[in-house]
Symmetry: C2
Subunit: 279 residues, 2 copies
């Protein structure tokens, strides 16, 4: 038994979909969320910057005595996960392995698509893991940089969204995919439109649910589940204004947040270990 | 005579259009540019965060002994200019006043449009200045948040750009504008498409040229122009990867950059004066 909280972070609001799933699957765990809203987005930025920002946030979560860090951001999972694991003494869980396992859940899956930010797709993190687990699978990966601003600007139900999906997904539709990994926490909000465009037969993989399942497994395997005698608490932190985060974040969390605190993580000492690549 | 360099900053690459104009109008001045590529964009962020970032950058430029700071970013000009002027001992020039003066250059101008980021439009910086200088003018302001990612993702010549312009500018076309201020450094790259959509009769105002003119005037008025006996030098700094900046920045500057340095401005002491609002 371990009554310390679970830390979850993302570049912005998107990781709240993971908090939502964690709350459903782990009603008794305390959760601390950090959204890096002052520096969002990560998807168009470089590897050293994404690692630096992710480590600053991990240091903040550690200062809050978390027993685990969940990297709810696909870009940070793709580019900083191994780095964070070397730098942190608590387990660090990303969203990529859970998403890949869900995509390959059925034996007969042979063609898998991956859509995400520039940085996620360029890292080949998804592509290499898919091929490692199923060498004969066909992987098609596509960066869709305009989809995040479309979701954040509330343009999901407009012709702009339709046109952007057509521009990005036309080549994927022609590939007769078995599954498509939505490798960005914003994309589930476009799930219906993506499903309509690709037609039936393509399973859309939203990593939040799978990630929460992996968190549960790791807690049990390490015997660090929390006390089951009370409802879990939640604390939300951001690096920019709480007001905008509460407003934009509500559809991701699926309910309102009562209070959000500001934390300037860039003031933290990185405490880099000896094996760290220079940032 | 003053041989110190002029500092110019922006949230990213856009301010290079101002560097380009400064170089044309002031061939002998040394220039130091900073692009905050690790934290771009500013346009969707809050006032305290935009002020904090702008002050960190100003402190960096001051450490490079600049004789003037040019805020080439519309969002930072709209939200942080007065604040920076109170905090800095060198003249601080923004892009808003020059843009407003250019829009009102002709006596008969009565209807002016302004397009920019969420933060710029919400600040009403342009709207209030236009009305202060010409009380009977009609001002129509519109935030166009998708245009920056469209320019940065190189989608200017695609149907997405056409559709986005139609979505944002339809109501402005119906207002029979005399002038439209392109209140974001990215928009000049959409100038042709905007002109085609609005039709003839609307003067498009690109602040870079006007801002360079104001810089020249201030240098002369304060007698701090540089030596005229040699070509001016240029130094470029960014907070994220130089490679991406050099590639994306070239169309803004109109020529390649030889070298770009990395500077982590967030490590700087803000040195807040006693009259500062808390950040």
């Amino acid at each position: 038994m371990d009554d310390r909280p679970i830390g979850v972070f993302d570049s912005g609001v998107g990781g709240l979909t993971v908090v939502k799933e964690l709350r459903t699957q782990l009603p008794h765990e305390d959760l601390i969320y950090f959204g890096d809203t002052a520096r969002v987005p990560y998807g168009s930025k470089s590897v050293p910057v994404i690692r630096r920002f992710s480590l600053e946030i991990t240091r903040f979560l550690e200062s809050q005595r978390v027993k685990m860090v969940v990297v709810a951001c696909n870009t940070a999972s793709a580019l900083a996960l191994d780095f964070l694991r070397r730098q942190s003494s608590v387990p660090v869980i990303g969203v990529i392995d859970p998403g890949v396992r869900a995509a390959l859940a059925h034996e007969q899956v042979r063609a898998v698509g991956v859509i995400g930010t520039q940085a996620t797709i360029r890292s080949e993190a998804y592509q290499s893991r898919l091929l490692r687990l199923r060498a004969d699978c066909q992987v098609v990966a596509k960066a869709c940089p305009l989809l995040v601003p479309i979701v954040e600007e509330n343009l999901v139900a407009t012709p702009i969204a339709t046109l952007a999906l057509e521009m990005y997904l036309a080549e994927l539709r022609d590939r007769r995919l078995d599954a498509l990994i939505l490798a960005c926490t914003h994309y589930p909000l476009l799930k219906e439109a993506i499903a309509a465009f690709l037609g039936t037969g393509v399973t859309l993989i939203d990593s939040a649910e799978e990630t929460a399942r992996e968190v549960t497994e790791v807690l049990q395997a390490r015997r660090i589940t929390g006390p089951a005698d009370r409802p879990g608490t939640e604390e939300f932190y951001v690096s920019d204004s709480p007001e905008a985060f509460m407003r934009v974040g509500e559809p991701f969390l699926g309910r309102p947040m009562r209070q959000v605190f500001v934390e300037h993580v860039w003031k933290r000492d990185l405490g880099l270990g000896p094996d760290a690549t220079p940032l």
